[in-house]
């Protein structure tokens, strides 16, 4: 139970849909928010869908920066969120659509989770859901 808010949600679910490795300036924000929510001791789940699943392929996020002025990579931002307790789930359908089925993924990925799992969270009034 978070001690940071009077009536904490049971958790925060983030859906990465428009977060595209081709547009890295948008990629730090969802993980920064995931890190903040997890640091506030809220359970956090991040669902990777569409082209965001590429971020879970070893080497991809490590080669991306949100800004040339930042020394942190997107993988650093992902690892920070994960270190605070955020859990990462990947959409099986998106892996197939992106030709990544069967590829090894980074260790921070907890497993598969897609539309059904995310919408179960979105439909639960005790959870909050955000789409990036």
């Amino acid at each position: 139970m978070s001690g940071y808010t009077a009536q904490p949600a049971d958790g925060i679910a983030l859906l990465l849909w428009a977060a595209d490795p081709a547009d890295p300036q948008r990629l730090a924000t969802p993980f920064f928010h995931a890190a903040a929510a997890a640091a506030l001791e809220l359970p956090v789940e991040v669902y990777f869908t569409a082209r965001s699943v590429h971020l879970l392929v070893p080497g991809v996020a490590a080669g991306l920066r949100a800004s040339p002025l930042f020394d942190k990579t997107i993988l650093d931002a992902m690892r920070e969120a994960h270190a605070h307790g955020a859990r990462f789930f990947v959409c099986t359908d998106a892996l197939h659509a992106q030709g990544l089925a069967g590829q090894p993924l980074i260790a921070e990925c907890s497993g598969h989770g897609g539309a059904l799992q995310f919408m179960a969270r979105a439909g639960d009034l005790r959870w909050r859901s955000l789409v990036f």
Binding site: G3, Y4, T5, A6, A28, F32, A35, A36, A39, L40, E41, F70, K72, E80, H84
Partner: protein, 146 residues
Amino acid sequence: MNVAGFEFPEALFFHAEHQVWARLEGDGTATVGITAMGVGQAGEIYMCRPKQVGAVVGQGQGMAVVELAKSIVSVKSPVSGTVVAVNGQLAATPELVHTDPYGAGWLARLELADWAADAVALLHGDAVVAPMQHQAWLFRQAEGPA
């Protein structure tokens, strides 16, 4: 006293790994905050949010979250207890943590749950020097060459 360029007031108790301090108030409570070294190593603090009054915190557990430039950090409590007051000034002026870490930049005040047990993990007086020098060395190693 000064260690590695940072002040460590002799009246306070410190947790070296977490870079936090506690000041016994003599009424069963302790005021807690971030050390000057911790603040100096963290860099600019954009926002600081302590736990709310009534929250129960264990030693080494999160008592506040700070938003830094490009990073989120959970500040661990040096003592166990129940939060009885938080520094409301930090919401509007988080820079107090930087400018006055042992004074106006305090984070919270806790009603102590088990000071005798907590004290075992805390540093006081001359015992502060070597562990804090080591922490400063670890930080320099992590930062790499300038």
